[in-house]
Symmetry: D2
Subunit: 372 residues, 4 copies
């Protein structure tokens, strides 16, 4: 693991998720650039500790019992280098999102992944929820007919006040372009929303019209994004991501409308998937029910009615990734890979640039090279 | 009443709503241009029947016991003339939305209203729901701090198929530019969404960036609209209105986010208003509860926990209008008036034109003359 | 109308409901025993006013244009006499629940109804909700298989404090045995719950085990009831009715479980009916949807997604009753009749007596004579 | 670990939960009485495997690096002996519920626990949910005033058909008195409901009136239970537990009504706690929100809006237990202990016996010795 030292939010989630099913074990980490802190974390977690990721990768790649998969849980500006180094050293990589600090890095990383023959996964955790996977299956099977419209919302409220100026560690790096890149909210959670819309609809966004804003006075990076979408084939969409939607917690929601019906998934009701039909009663599908498709069922550990949540969704990504590694697959699908990383970085850069320039509709340049 | 003959949907709602509280009574109508049909409707409802609205207005204005208020429940192209005639004859007007067939008519009607000294109300029914009025009060009182973001959605699915080609009467006139104007979905329900957003936020939309589309093959007018909004003072917004959101019923929802919290109202839970606070537990306010503001409480007929719905919301508009008439007020506020009509028609025309032209952000021209 | 004078809750509901569909009109009333108050109410509502129900019945029965249906909206102790008088005078009766002050009166009234050849309806309003009627249809059709269990809950909280001692008019008569009978909460809302359970399940309660209590200090009549039920054929049930469930509004809910699935109806989501299947996804049926049964569809005035509520449910009872009167039917089914009144009064008296005596299971004596 | 071999449901949950926070590690197990199966499970989980729990306890107690805590995840008839043996060998015990096969064993085990000086915990998992703990705090703080009524429901539908005759392993042992004891549904999930009601209300059940039935033909043990409750101090309650509520998944719900308001917790919305107030708006408290009490906050691993579920609730019990062990406490509170085990076994035996005998209200004998 790279990152995950004291005060981290997502590092512990990666550890719990990776180990939940007994398939992976945290054996080593460069948990902090402060060697003492890294050592302390290593001791707490029973893992070999390093003060530097390069040192870790070199050492682990050289051990017979060394790490096989490197989890990257650092801020955005520290995604590319460890990922590239690990892949080049022959290790697989699970990286927190977004893939890199910018699109150029993402495209470069895509080349490194391709050359490495190793697997690369991006923890777009929402794709790990069983009912999101069921949604994808429903669309794929054509149950809804052709997709016409996608509405994805990701409202948060925790940055409604300038808490990055008050020492909130999670806010500080997200508000800093050097660590986050050109996207604030759009990079942090807009990327999740974008990925989720493409993952479930099976359609690639081709054009966007974006309103990306920094609402809280004094903030440099955006904290509110509203984007009109046009998908390949003509379907329309709306993407709303916000960190100044005061009072909102983490209310990701996705609606996909086809010719015959529409489906709705909401993070706050993560174990349910609602399908409203044009000519029949609404259905609610429940996680872990035998009538679900294989991919959704595989994501359940316990019987229906016993809620599984964020950690379990994260664990599904790790489990699938571990399986792909164990079986020597060339792709960890359905775990999002570097092509999703390139697409989301193209989305971030295009939206920010077009919005700043006051442009309307623009093409999602740079994403095209990587077909989904 | 003008319109409301056999097969009408909204005519009977107007009648039930107007009479619900015993304040108004249907006494006369030009229910249909087919004199026999009009007569039959008049007999069924115990009202004087006319075959022509001009005839009705002339006759009723001349009677001592004649109608005082003319309700207009016809398709859009038949809103302006009866309204103008009634006002000129000294009668008050309650009109179904949108105010007129186009912006020019709306602006002309605004002049006629001003000159007439009569009251003019638009049945934007969502403003009649007690919890919508409570939402407006909460914003007005400043409980949320300054408004930063508004998201209004109005998804329907009933036009997912080209039923206007199959003889559906409600669909036929809505799909016909001669009867509907340049807006299809945006005129039919986008206007509700637009009005609702302005009504609750207390802010005027100044600029828009619209994606207005006809999705169903063969359809002339739009059936899906996604619009980015910019309000006076800088608040941002998103308006989504659709009649091809297959499976959706009539799921109007409104979210208004301020500095300190956000409120959510959903038509499907019309008697509830949710307020999510940045630093405190979520609150759910229930209709008819003593802790509500006066305007919300006044809209309840029965104790909390006994649901009131669409007809009652409609009736609240009629009751308020009747009170304003009885008391000789110069405005029927909170019933939306002609200025709301002008604004919504400006929204429709601007959005349709800008979207067709492929423009991005455009100013809401034509709406400015009527301050809210 | 008998009752419904100033300060009444249910009287205005009856008037609005009866007139909503233009089938009935309030023409006369003994609105109050205070002749001046009755006259004032009559003037407000445009109806002939009487100071005494006997006077009203005699006069109206003697007029060619006199009332055909007498609506009784008084406290319980004033149900029997007006009903009996009206029936004997050849008028039909719509009575608020419960039918009478006690079981003996109910049984006597059953005889009077039978002898009169007139129709008698009880406004158990929950049976007027379209989705309750759909629930009954689903059970009748056997979709759930044999019914095994019924859970009906009716929690209210408004009597959590002794407000009858503080002058609350609605609370005062309900807390007074002379006006309410032996049942407080059980008579007021337990009867609704009991009727609803039998109405939807189609099963008669045969034995009960009741815990009926006065929880608020100083209260004479019960304010909280918990009852185990045994239905004909062996199905089990639980009935919970309470007026000291602090914070509860009017949260009637009904769950009926069969061999293959279970249905849930909740008053707070009155336009929805949920059916959970043993081996298939959950379904939510929405009011006014074309896929519903005829009886549910007939109860809708407006398209799906436009909520109808308590007044409309009440109006459905009045509309059905008016139809039965107009068509000269011998029963106003599905409007509950006097047999439902006898059964609910037997339930009240049996439960109160058995609970006071500390008995366990007892038969529902006195209800048997009236087969459902 | 005792039990948890192939096909087990709850064994893996114990393992995931125990290890989630890195505080405990599965080091050894008697996973199956089939030595080969046990060995296979041990290998899969990286743990020492034994074919017999006595052997395991002896060996582990004798190792310096041996297990400190024994988790018992076997069917009910195999709870007492391993627990007793482990305690006598100086090991702590975390046992699945119910504590033992019958009340006599539970009382005997209480003595063994007391004599051992070791900690004993019962995995009544619902007490591990943060919002259940918040509910207990709200009641304890007196926010609701005195508790007047408790309604706890635990509907499941998976035993609606006689699947124990079709080879369903989970159903087979639950339907077998030799393995389950005298209680079927009441022992399996009624005990959870009973414990949850006492845990949150802080009140002991003193008397019950039970209807315990075997509904599915051919079933020996009960599959449906409806019980009236009387708590110390006079509060009333209703407990409903069922495994034939077809279509129900695992819908535990708890309502506690006090003088000033009522709270509702539902497993299907596990991260929310609703508090309805008599005189103020409803509140919804969300897990991991800073405004929660310490015990609720301590149970959250990730920020609000990121759902945690069943495994995390289970893990909270293990984490609290591990803390109590590490700190040498004399109680693992809030983890339910053997006194809860005695009370729930008294509930099961009393309810089953009284219901069979057709008795009404009976005292909860045998539970009194263990004050809560």
């Amino acid at each position: 693991m790279v990152g995950g030292g004291p005060g981290a939010f997502i590092g512990p989630v990666h550890r719990m998720a990776a180990e939940l099913d007994g398939r992976l074990k945290l054996v080593a980490g460069a948990f902090s650039r402060d060697a003492a802190k890294s050592a302390a974390a290593g001791q707490a977690w029973g893992a070999r500790a390093y003060g530097d990721f390069r040192e870790m990768i070199a050492a682990e790649a050289g051990r017979d019992d060394g790490a096989e998969v490197v989890a990257i849980v650092t801020p955005n500006h520290l995604h590319f280098e460890p990922a590239a180094a690990a892949l080049k050293a022959g290790l697989h990589v699970m990286s927190d999102k977004p893939a890199t600090l910018n699109l150029a890095q993402a495209r470069e990383l895509a080349g490194i992944v391709a050359a490495s023959g190793r697997l690369y996964g991006l923890t777009h955790v929402y794709t790990g929820y069983p009912m999101v996977r069921e949604a994808r299956e429903i669309v794929r099977r054509g149950d809804l007919g052709a997709v016409r419209k996608v509405v994805v919302e990701y409202p948060q409220g925790w940055l409604s006040e300038p808490i990055e100026q008050g020492g909130d560690k999670q806010a500080m790096w997200r508000a800093d372009p050097a660590q986050s890149g050109v996207g604030g909210c759009i990079g942090d959670i807009g990327t999740h929303a974008f990925n989720l819309a493409e993952f479930v609809s099976g359609l690639a966004v081709e054009r966007i019209c974006a309103d990306v804003a920094a609402v809280v006075p004094g903030r440099v990076l955006d904290d509110d994004c509203n984007v009109l979408l046009r998908f390949a084939g003509g379907a329309r969409g709306v993407l709303i991501a916000s960190q100044i939607s005061a009072g909102a917690r983490n209310g990701v929601s996705l609606k996909v409308y086809g010719e015959k019906g529409g489906l709705t998934w909401r993070h706050e009701r993560a174990t349910e998937l609602t399908v409203d039909w044009l000519h029949a009663p609404t259905q609610i599908l429940h996680a872990a029910s035998p009538y679900l498709s294989g991919s959704a069922l595989a994501g359940a550990r316990i019987p229906t009615g016993h809620p599984e949540g964020f950690i379990e969704a994260f664990a599904n990504l790790y489990r699938d990734f571990a399986t792909a590694v164990a079986e020597g697959r060339v792709s960890a699908d359905p775990v999002p890979g570097i092509e999703a990383g390139v697409r989301t970085m193209a989305f971030v850069e295009t939206a920010v640039a077009a919005s700043r320039a006051g442009e309307g509709w623009v093409a999602l340049e740079g994403a095209a090279a990587c077909a989904r």
